[in-house]
């Protein structure tokens, strides 16, 4: 039952965010801002700067260790969406055939280099975004977005997405189970039935949306989602933000890999 496992997987990401570690306790706004800065820094590298990207793995690794998030879980999720990145870059080696020397006498086409850099950027950005959710919880990120000035309507959309995706998935799970119980071998599992199931799901969600809206109205909803103030910037947040910014700055403007390499060389020679 693949659908069931997917459902529990999503629930797992949610459960991870209930942990109570140093990373989880940080202010969501600070984490969000640092994550965004991280994403922009990673994207800002040109397409051949593969080596300069590697030190950035330090940030997700740190979050994962301090936040006690299992590496294998994040790795699997990144792998799951990787086809997108692979298809974006797969033709680079063919189209971009300029030669680049990497080691003495060893050359590869520039396309391979840019393909690898796409993959690295992809792994960095997706894992960091996942870690943000896993250490902050989805509503936490939403409230941070709201306080950083995103219009209320978008934030409400996201909050509803989070709240009702579980309900919708449970609904789907029930329908899929009911179908499996009454369909034998390949009968009843064809595309026609699938299309009908999707149709039914759509109708049910429309009806549910109506009932939810009614529930909101009866509790005085007038177009704006009210929120309670809850965050306070603590000294730990400031320290975290400063360290992260300093680290990103160094990695962006100094060849960290080379410096580290020379340092190691120096130690051994």
């Amino acid at each position: 039952m693949t659908f069931d496992t997917q459902y529990y997987n999503l629930g797992f990401l949610d459960q991870l965010s209930y942990k109570d570690t140093f990373v989880h306790r940080l202010d969501p706004r600070v984490k969000l801002a640092v994550t965004l800065l991280f994403l922009f820094t990673v994207i800002s590298f040109s397409k051949y700067e593969t080596v300069a990207l590697l030190p950035f793995f330090l940030y997700p690794m740190l979050l994962m260790t301090l936040g006690e998030i299992p590496l294998i879980f994040i790795f699997k999720k990144v792998l799951l969406v990787s086809p997108f990145a692979v298809f974006i870059g797969i033709f680079n080696p063919l189209l971009d055939s300029g030669q680049i020397v990497i080691l003495n006498g060893f050359t590869i086409s520039a396309g391979w280099l840019s393909f690898i850099s796409i993959l690295i950027k992809f792994a960095l950005t997706v894992s960091t975004a996942l870690l943000l959710i896993a250490t902050t919880s989805f509503p936490g990120v939403c409230h941070a977005l709201r306080q950083l000035g995103l219009p209320s309507i978008f934030v409400s959309q996201l909050l509803f997405l989070y709240r009702y995706i579980f309900v919708l998935m449970e609904e789907t799970m029930r329908i899929v189970r009911a179908r499996n119980m009454r369909s034998f071998s390949e009968r009843g599992k064809g595309i026609k039935i699938f299309v009908r199931i999707v149709g039914i799901l759509f109708l049910r969600s429309v009806e549910k949306a109506e009932r939810v809206y009614y529930a909101m109205l009866s509790r005085g909803f007038q177009g704006d989602m009210p929120t309670l103030k809850r965050f306070q910037i603590k000294s730990a947040d400031v320290v975290f933000a400063l360290c992260a910014v300093a680290l990103l700055f160094v990695f962006r403007f100094y060849p960290a890999t080379e410096i580290l390499g020379r340092f190691v060389q120096g130690v051994f020679s």
Binding site: P139, F160, V212, S218, R219, P226
Partner: protein, 244 residues
């Protein structure tokens, strides 16, 4: 002193698809009364409840809640007076955590933070749900969800409490807790349900509707003991009457 009355006068309602769901229905529920509304599936119970806070507007006739007539203009005012608890708590709990959900109504009423906190804690405490505060609704059991749904309505301090099948999906113990809880409320209560034993425990008066009209209205002890009347409406004697 405020009079928390609910009065329907010759109310009819036709859905856009042509179904006539309420047919010239009239009744009056006075201050502090607890009334059970029963009837077969599709008799119009839910449609009736939806009129009580102006989600549906009568096609003809008038709805009077606490001396305010239901119109487009008075909708907001009436929604403050009548709190509705839905049959499916998933429809009602739409915020990411229990606490935020219960706070949603009071915040919309424009209360300040301290007052909101006070109300939320009070309401959750009332339904024994204080320890669920920071949980997301999708991790609650069905009984917990319906307790929180009731708290979210109580937190708005409505004058009148209307409930649609409050005990559906509850296990016997949660159902018993709910009945005890409902008995402690001093509000005017209107409960639509098929659970006749629950109605018997909680309500004094009972209204039977069939095909959108009132067919019987009287004390619970009389109506729920009338086997013939109940069977005509796809109902049965409450279990507690069947034993003797």
């Amino acid at each position: 002193m405020s009079h928390h009355i609910v009065e329907f006068k010759n109310v009819s309602f036709r859905y856009p698809d042509g179904t006539l769901a309420l047919k010239d229905i009239s009744f009056r529920i006075t201050h502090g009364e607890s009334v059970g509304i029963i009837g077969a599936n599709g008799a119009g119970k839910s449609t009736l409840l939806m009129h009580m806070n102006g989600y549906l507007m009568p096609t003809s006739g008038t709805v009077n809640i606490g001396d305010v007539y239901l119109t487009q203009k008075t909708q907001q005012e009436i929604r403050r007076k009548v709190g509705i608890v839905f049959q499916n708590p998933d429809d009602q709990l739409f915020m990411p955590t229990v606490y935020e959900d219960v706070a949603f109504g009071p915040l919309n009423l424009g209360l300040d933070e301290a007052a909101v906190r006070e109300r939320v804690n009070f309401a959750l405490n009332l339904v024994n749900g204080l320890e669920l505060k920071n949980k997301p609704p999708h991790h609650l059991s069905c009984g917990q969800k319906s307790a929180v749904a009731i708290a979210s309505v109580i937190a708005m301090e409505p004058d009148i409490l209307a409930m649609d099948e409050p005990a559906a999906n509850l296990d016997p113990r949660s159902r018993r807790l709910l009945i005890n809880l409902l008995k402690t409320f001093a509000h005017s209560k209107i409960i639509a349900s098929h659970d006749l034993d629950l109605i018997m425990d909680v309500c004094r008066r009972c209204i039977i509707i069939r095909e959108g009209t009132v067919v019987a209205d009287g004390p619970v002890s009389e109506i729920l003991a009338d086997k013939k009347l109940l069977e005509e409406n796809n109902l049965e004697l409450p279990l507690s009457f069947q034993r003797c």
